[in-house]
Symmetry: C2
Subunit: 304 residues, 2 copies
């Protein structure tokens, strides 16, 4: 699998015994990202076997407590575990000041550097890129400055058509990475073997869009168009659309409308208000608009 999303917490507001606030762990093209970090996230990481040492990049959507109060504890634990690798944190302005003050009062001086990427733009922007993955922001509309994040795999290398390659004993394994990169091969005889004969098309790059928290906001549709997986918050059902509007959250129906307009392949919803005891109702409501809906649940993995 080139993309695996693990739900660590998917409930709104306050942590309860079996209902943790937002946090997700995303493995995409061999990169490992933590998205949001409500109180108790490090406990949830242990519970669901997320390796602490894999996390080098943490993305924080906004500075409401249920999305970042677990960050300082996680950073502190990295220090206790003698981390040395630098840690990148992407989130709204203010995150650096609040984190540094907590480290200062607790006299937590760690061996690793924290590199803060504080976000202030109201436009979608590229905030991370390497040879495997890019991450861009999705400006959302909430009571405080909030971004979602769009994770995209880069174009992949072609796959070897190993059956065809083995027709030419002269081609060695050390040639394979040239072939995957699209090169033709010239044999000693001078014969040129076209790359098309030796390769298969690469798998299509996968994409994941994380959108929490936000009111219904149609202008994110072009940004998240046709992603493979969309997480969209659904704090309320339509019976409390008034409250969703007032608190700048979405209903399950609104999440589904966004998924439908963006023609995404799959929708996962979460951030359920504690007023609802039966979360199946969220799926029922969303499914009336968009067919491929799954519910976020703690410990659930979605693999693409």
């Amino acid at each position: 699998m080139s993309l695996v999303l693990t739900i660590l917490g998917c409930h709104s507001a306050t942590p309860r015994v079996n209902a943790h606030p937002t946090s997700q762990y995303l493995e995409i093209n061999n990169r490992h990202f933590l998205i949001d970090c409500g109180e108790g996230t490090q406990r949830q990481m242990r519970k669901h076997k997320v390796g602490f040492s894999k996390i080098n990049h943490i993305f924080i959507s906004h500075l409401h407590g249920d999305h970042f109060f677990g960050l300082i504890g996680l950073i502190s634990t990295f220090g206790i575990l003698n981390r040395e690798k630098e840690l990148h944190i992407y989130g709204p302005k203010g995150l650096r000041e609040v984190t540094r003050l907590q480290l200062k009062v607790s006299k937590s001086y760690s061996k690793f550097d924290i590199i803060y990427h504080e976000l202030t733009s109201k436009e979608s922007e590229l905030i991370f890129e390497d040879d495997k993955v890019s991450v861009t922001t999705i400006p959302l509309n909430h009571r405080v400055y909030t971004n979602g994040f769009l994770f995209r795999e880069k174009e992949k290398l072609k796959k070897l058509n190993i059956e065809n390659v083995q027709q030419y004993p002269e081609i060695e394994t050390c040639d394979y990475h040239h072939i995957k990169a699209g090169k033709d091969i010239t044999l000693e005889s001078g014969e040129v073997i076209k790359n098309e004969e030796l390769t298969l098309a690469p798998s299509k790059p996968k994409s994941y869009a994380f959108c929490s928290d936000t009111s219904y906001k149609e202008d994110i549709v072009p940004i998240i168009k046709e992603v493979d997986l969309l997480y969209h918050e659904a704090t309320f059902l339509s019976d409390r659309e008034d409250l969703a509007k007032k608190t700048k959250h979405s209903t399950a129906k609104q999440a589904a409308l966004i998924a439908s307009q963006a023609a995404v392949k799959q929708l996962i919803i979460g951030h359920y208000s504690s007023r609802y005891t039966n979360i199946d109702l969220f799926k029922k409501e969303a499914s009336e608009i968009f067919s491929n809906v799954i519910l976020a649940e703690e410990g659930k993995k979605v693999s693409l």
Copy 2:
């Protein structure tokens, strides 16, 4: 019971699935106190049925993360639950600044006032007192400024000797509080009934001393002399006394030595290092010095 201690978390350093950092809930003479507040404390409060609305006073021993990273989440939850009563927080200087900054960046404006009692003294001092209970600090020796807390019931009213009282039908229930307060009763005939005849001695006021984190520190002995219950940290066993010294923690043996010298009635130990998988060894080591030892365990209640 006039004193009930509930252990919410009793492990050191980082939260794990079934090992939460320090937090305790103390009911004493109808007062309700939270002592320390590591990450996940509010979840532990829910798990162990501690009513959020009962907490008006929170005592923080020191500003290491495993003793206060859960505080901001708890305060935030109080706001979400529409708390209106003022909240008193006692702890080292710095706590106010760090808490207020977090509330500011998360735009959490609550209806209730937070009154900070920031501690800086290196001497034992009275920090809370009402008609039922007093709380004084116990200066400890740790890597950062740290206090333990001594909770003492006030002298109680005498108990009615109801059998004797009922010998005098003239005495009415509205006289009872005068009798409990020590007054004699004069009957209509002029006969004076001495208070001693109508009362029994009050139960002895209970006391609880909380000492975490600290190196072995004999000069706390006079402060905690003969308390009914002493919690003393025991992070290590004697096999790592060197490490205890270096990190300014105590061994189980050292905790027991303090309990013995102070002639306390009962010792409860906790704050176990994660390097030990069998915590019974802590009890074994302490019991060689002091007989009445119990182990802190999550959810355990100690009633006096």
